[in-house]
């Protein structure tokens, strides 16, 4: 059985279900803890009780006219006032609850029973039955609902019950969809196969395993459908097509209010309020049920997930005596210098420092590698230089000297005019960096035209030149394509071409080859190196790969949890690493691993090194 139908929101909704079974009792217990669900249920119970007990609850006869007390506003005698015939509005409201509640019950029962059976059958038995039911459901969903109801009402002489049953049949389509996708999910679980092999029949499997799992989504869908049913039932009464006056109905009371709207607008409030509160109650119930069901899923997935690594898994490496780190003054020859860059994340417990007082210098035409583990802050550093830190993080300090001008990195808005023209950037996921709705040519053209103000024809020619520059074969053909029609390596070349469009002085490359195949990686790195030489452009290369550093970089900077541990030429780093962490990181390079031995990890290497280091210092 293949699941090939288009993904609907309901599919997505139920697809999040955990492998473990969420018992309906647990779902209802969670639901019962939600105050809004309780309030909504209380209102619905109250309205239902009023509907049934109207003869005992209502203060007056709903049909008793009193022409001496017409159109009164609320008073002690008439808590909600009186209508144009002096009838007590509260009593009419209480009596009028019955047809609405009855109508909802009819529609919801039909929709639930029919939708449940259809969805279950389609999802569980599949094949031709699934196709037939899916067709039927699509058909029902495409019907113009109210117009169909009008036809039914005409034919069946304004019979409200027939109308609400019809509404239920039309509403069963939505229920069936939810039930079908939920059943499909359950059906594909291994334990269902196991149950079948152990001899459990279809009926038993459905009752024991399928039904409990789809209760949650079903309650959500039913609540929302009930809200629709309230609006439909009151709407039909409003149009005078259901229960006939003078019998009280909520919709009919709105109609009566409309007849005296100029001199007694108050009359709109009680009936409208009752309808709105009832719709609201069903809506809130649906929302709470959705939350309660979702909590079950997140709990299920959380149980299955590995424990999150603690923020500092290893003892913090101590700084080593040795060459002092970069000096405080900006390098006079550097094209780009950063001093004291500090990046923090705003969390519930206050600020957390992600990058701490970082300095870096980038010489003209050179490539600087920023190396570190995931989460060391290397990507954030490059984003901070661009002024593009993600929401929730910000630079609190840091100055940048770029081509002689000073910038405050804590004020990202001042960096905007540097982007594209002076600073270019390429990203880790080349495909995700392109807008799927526009062609490759368009991506290049809009940058060229924004920065260059060149006429269109000239910009087009330049776009092709750029694609040639990044060694794309058949650039004219590629220019016409959309991002989804090119490969990842090609997309990264396009990204590079775009970042070169306005001739930046510095290119920031954030793990530009991580997402690519090994062979493509080498090509992209070659390209970057050649471009850097040809255009005398300085490059910052963010990476976790020592091979990339050795091949492409002139200098390297080692980051650990936001702290700069070492900054030196590549030769120095590889031949005589100063910091124990650098040594550990180098030792964890998988390229040096011995065949047949487990891959070294940074944890092992670091522990070993620190032990050695301790021994040395003790000795």
């Amino acid at each position: 059985m293949s699941e090939s139908a288009a993904e609907t929101p309901a599919d997505v909704f139920t697809a999040k279900g955990p492998a473990s079974q969420d018992k309906p009792t647990r779902f209802f217990r969670r639901l019962a803890r939600k105050p809004l669900a309780i309030a909504a249920t209380a209102w619905l119970v109250a309205v239902s009780a009023a509907a049934v007990l109207a003869p005992w609850l209502a203060p007056a006869d709903p049909l008793a006219q009193d022409l001496l007390a017409v159109k009164q506003t609320p008073s002690q005698a008439h808590l909600l006032g009186t209508d144009a015939f002096g009838r007590d509005v509260l009593s009419r409201l209480v009596y009028g609850a019955w047809p609405t509640i009855l109508g909802i019950a009819e529609a919801v029962l039909i929709a639930c029973a029919l939708g449940f059976v259809l969805g279950l059958a389609a999802g569980y038995f599949g094949r031709w039955l699934d196709r037939a039911i899916t067709q039927l459901v699509d058909l029902l969903l495409a019907l113009p609902g109210l117009v169909i109801l009008l036809s039914i009402l005409a034919v069946f002489n304004r019979d409200m019950t027939v109308a609400m049953v019809t509404l239920g049949i039309m509403g069963s389509a939505g229920i069936a969809r939810v039930a079908r996708s939920a059943t499909l999910n359950v059906r594909n679980e291994l334990y269902i196969d196991a149950a079948r092999i152990s001899g459990l029949g279809d009926a038993a499997i459905i009752v024991r395993h399928v039904v409990p799992r789809i209760i949650g989504p079903l309650i959500v869908q039913l609540s929302l459908f009930a809200a629709t049913a309230v609006l439909a039932q009151t709407g039909i009464s409003f149009l005078g097509l259901g229960v006939q006056p003078p019998a009280p109905t909520w919709g009919g009371m709105v109609y009566e209010a409309s007849q005296t709207i100029t001199d007694d607008p108050w009359l709109l409030a009680p009936s409208g309020g009752a309808i709105a509160l009832t719709v609201l109650a069903f809506g809130l119930l649906g929302d709470s049920a959705r939350d309660a069901a979702a909590e079950g899923w997140t709990r299920g997935t959380r149980r299955g997930r590995r424990p999150a690594p603690s923020p500092r898994p290893t003892p913090s490496p101590r700084p080593t005596p040795g060459p002092t780190p970069a000096t405080a003054a900006a390098s006079p020859t550097a094209v780009l210098s950063v001093r004291g860059l500090t990046i923090v994340a705003d969390g519930d417990t206050g600020e957390r420092v992600l990058v701490d007082g970082m300095d870096l210098d980038l010489e003209q035409g050179q490539t600087l590698g920023i190396v570190g583990e995931s989460g060391s802050g290397k990507t954030l550093t490059s984003l901070a230089i661009m002024g593009l830190l993600p929401p929730g993080t910000r630079a609190t300090a840091g100055t940048m000297v770029l081509e002689g001008a000073r910038y405050n990195l804590a004020r990202p808005e001042t960096l905007r005019r540097l982007r594209g023209s002076t600073l270019g950037m390429i990203f880790q996921e080349p495909m995700a960096a392109l807008d799927p709705c526009f062609t490759i040519e368009h991506h290049l053209l809009e940058v060229l035209r924004h920065h260059g103000k060149a006429p269109r024809s000239q910009a087009k020619a330049r776009a092709i030149e750029l694609l040639e520059l990044v060694r794309i074969p058949d650039p004219k053909d590629v220019a016409r394509r959309y991002p989804h029609q090119i490969s990842g390596g090609m997309a990264q070349r396009v990204g590079i071409a775009r970042s070169l469009a306005a001739n930046p002085r510095v290119l920031l490359a954030d793990e530009p080859t991580t997402a690519l195949d090994v062979t493509v990686q080498a090509e992209i790195l070659d390209l970057l190196r050649d471009l850097s030489e040809a255009e005398s452009m300085a490059v910052i290369l963010v990476t976790h790969d020592w091979g990339v550093v050795a091949d492409s970089c002139d200098r390297a900077l080692v980051l650990y949890h936001g702290e700069t541990l070492e900054s030196a030429t590549v030769e120095q780093i590889f031949s005589a690493p100063q910091h124990p962490y650098t040594k550990a990181l180098l030792r964890a390079n998988p390229h040096n691993a011995a065949v047949g031995q487990p891959l070294p990890t940074i944890q092992d290497s670091l522990r070993e090194l620190l032990d050695d280091h301790d021994k040395e210092t003790v000795a």
């Binding site: 002489n157 149009l239 097509l241 709705c437 940058v447």
Partner: protein, 313 residues
Amino acid sequence: MLKLILHRLALSVPLLFVVTFLTFLLNALSPGDLAQTILQGQGTPAQVAALRHQIGLDQPLIVQYAAWAGHALHGDLGSSAYTGEQVWDLVVGRMGVTLSIMVGVLIVCLLAGVSLGILSALKGGAIGRVIDVLSLGGLVFPSFWVALVFISFFAVTLQWFPATGYTPFADDPGMWLAGLVLPVLAAGLHSITSVAKQTRDSMSDVMGRDFIRALRATGLPTSTIVVKHALRNASLPLVTVLGLVMVAAITGTVFVEKVFVLPGLGSLAVDATQKFDIYVLQGVTLFFTVLTILINLIVDLSYGWLNPKVRVS
């Protein structure tokens, strides 16, 4: 692309037959019948039988349906049992009112809904809360009730707009527009807020995607990024919601036409229902079914047009 259009059309034709045949079937199942309705229960059995034969009610159902469908294909939808007017003429004559309201709802959704949604996605805060409150209101208060509150406040108290009635565009464009403001807002309140909410959600989603950051890195102005790139990408789910709200607006227009006493197809359908004027009701049902099919078709097509993955492959 052409294949997509043909495929969709092929799917919608059966729907048309199902809906019209269903109304026919109901007609046959109904307790009363057209002959008795026309004679208003006064005729002798012989008279009823004669009339039944005259309008073909004694034929098998499938023959009757084939006859009706054959005529319908030539634009002949029968005539009203009461006034004798041609259903086709009735539908065409009243179409303008209903379509004016629906187009009005669409325009307000696109202008107010989309811009509120963008603002709330970018600025958040107060605008977002206003949208939430309005959309809750649009959800829980039925359109006929909202319409009455609008009349009470904007027409009776403030007297900004006419309370009821319709002025044809040809007579007085200004009055035509003024008369449409309240019906459009009442029929569209829920649609506008649905669109605003969808715009907000899709825009926040798109603004967080990688390519937006990559575009910002190229130095393009924020306005270009938001309007050209983010909105274009956000429009894909938005189109689906626009289709849904337009189908829902059919229901809305039936109610507001009744409340504002507008001579459109919605009020025609309600009157026909009350009087069991079956051919008129069938004609209106046919119109609204075709309209629903068209809306869904336009949604599918614009989805394909907006999404290069569908368009190019």
